[in-house]
């Protein structure tokens, strides 16, 4: 059936990336999904889990660099001093980490 050249190239690339499997029907891609794609995700999940365990839990020492923690204009929420995904443990304010920290 007709597909754009771009889509055909993408499809070809994905088919080629699956280590030489011929471009086949639904069954081929189903096999690729359960034998290659999802186990690949599983391996990466395991990798993340193991790396998380090996992490140190301390945040880097605070240095009040002028090129970081820019506050040219306050954010339109809260006190205007906290970014949208602010995390008190990992994100210091321009004045340093907030509150008591371990």
């Amino acid at each position: 059936m007709a597909m754009s050249p771009t889509a055909m190239v993408a499809r070809r690339a994905l088919a080629a990336a699956s280590q030489g499997s011929h471009e086949g029907g639904a069954r081929t891609w189903k096999i690729l999904s359960f034998v290659l794609a999802l186990p690949g995700v599983g391996v990466c999940v395991a990798n993340v889990y193991m790396k998380m365990q090996a992490h140190s839990h301390d945040h880097p020492e605070f240095v009040p660099y002028p090129h970081l923690r820019i506050r040219t204009k306050p954010w339109p929420w809260g006190d205007g001093n906290h970014s949208l995904f602010h995390n008190a443990h990992t994100n210091p304010l321009p004045t340093g980490y907030e509150g008591p920290h371990h």
Binding site: A7, R11, A26, V41, V43, K51, H67
Partner: protein, 261 residues
């Protein structure tokens, strides 16, 4: 009785382009009002109007195509051109943000410490969650291809399974990125590193959400027997968009996460 003597679709008059334009006006001016006068009313109104416009406009297209038969081969060809051109415009959109990233990172200024990442920035480990995210999106590209072949071969149950799997992978990516955003030791306010990182990955994340939604609509339509093995352009458009989102991520991963660390 009058019949059209051509295969094209002369669309009936519709209010949705107007409501869409009004929504765009309300959202943009509403954003300015929020920033300067701390009221979210205008922006919220614009957002609601936008959602209503999208729902009704696309519902009408589905009615015209699937139920009224207006999407003849030449009409479908036009829709294909349209989707390709739209995705092309999105490529240029992202190109701009990559330009900004490389402009700042190839020649880091003295203010940043003359290095990239800038002094004081702890970049994310590219071989932790970002690598997982890469695997998730690549896997979703495989599952969406499985879905396409299933539809073409009339395998209804497999099509539903593979499409669902694709959407779940998309949601998993979004959840992972959200936790990365929360856990990151740097914010959008951390100089040009923060700006380029969060604007580029942020717009990408928005496109993942849009793509997942598009696929979810296709899943609903597949369940309701809208697609035939020969004619399922809505799904193809969603799949093209999804592959585009995947490719943008690959560039983001290599440029910002990997090289940029």
């Amino acid at each position: 009785m009058a019949h059209q003597a051509h295969a094209y679709h002369m669309v009936d008059p519709s209010p949705w382009p107007l409501t869409g334009a009004i929504a765009a006006l309300l959202m943009t001016s509403g954003l300015a009002i929020w920033f300067h006068f701390h009221s979210t009313v205008l922006m919220t109104l614009g957002l609601i109007l936008l959602l209503l416009t999208m729902y009704q406009w696309w519902r009408d297209i589905i009615r015209e195509g699937t139920f009224q038969g207006h999407h003849t081969p030449p009409v479908q060809k036009g829709l294909r051109y349209g989707m390709i051109l739209f995705i092309t415009s999105e490529v240029f959109f992202f190109l701009g943000f990559f330009w900004a990233f490389y402009h700042s990172s190839l020649a880091p200024t003295p203010e940043l410490g003359g290095c990239w990442p800038p002094t004081g920035i702890t970049p994310l480990d590219p071989f932790e969650v970002p690598l997982l995210n890469t695997a998730v999106l690549l896997a979703s590209g495989v599952t969406v291809t499985w879905a396409h072949h299933s539809i073409m071969e009339g395998e209804r149950k497999q099509a539903i399974q593979s499409l669902t799997l694709t959407i779940l992978l998309g949601l998993y990516f979004t959840a992972l990125q959200a936790t990365e955003y929360y856990e990151a030791p740097f914010t959008i306010a951390d100089g040009v590193y923060g700006s380029t990182f969060f604007v580029a990955t942020g717009f990408h994340g928005l496109h993942v959400i849009i793509g997942s939604t598009f696929l979810a609509v296709c899943l609903l339509r597949q369940v309701q027997y809208h697609f035939t093995s020969e004619h399922h352009f809505g799904f193809e458009a969603a799949a093209w968009y999804w592959h585009f989102v995947d490719v943008v991520w690959l560039f983001l991963y290599v440029s910002i996460y990997w090289w940029g660390s």
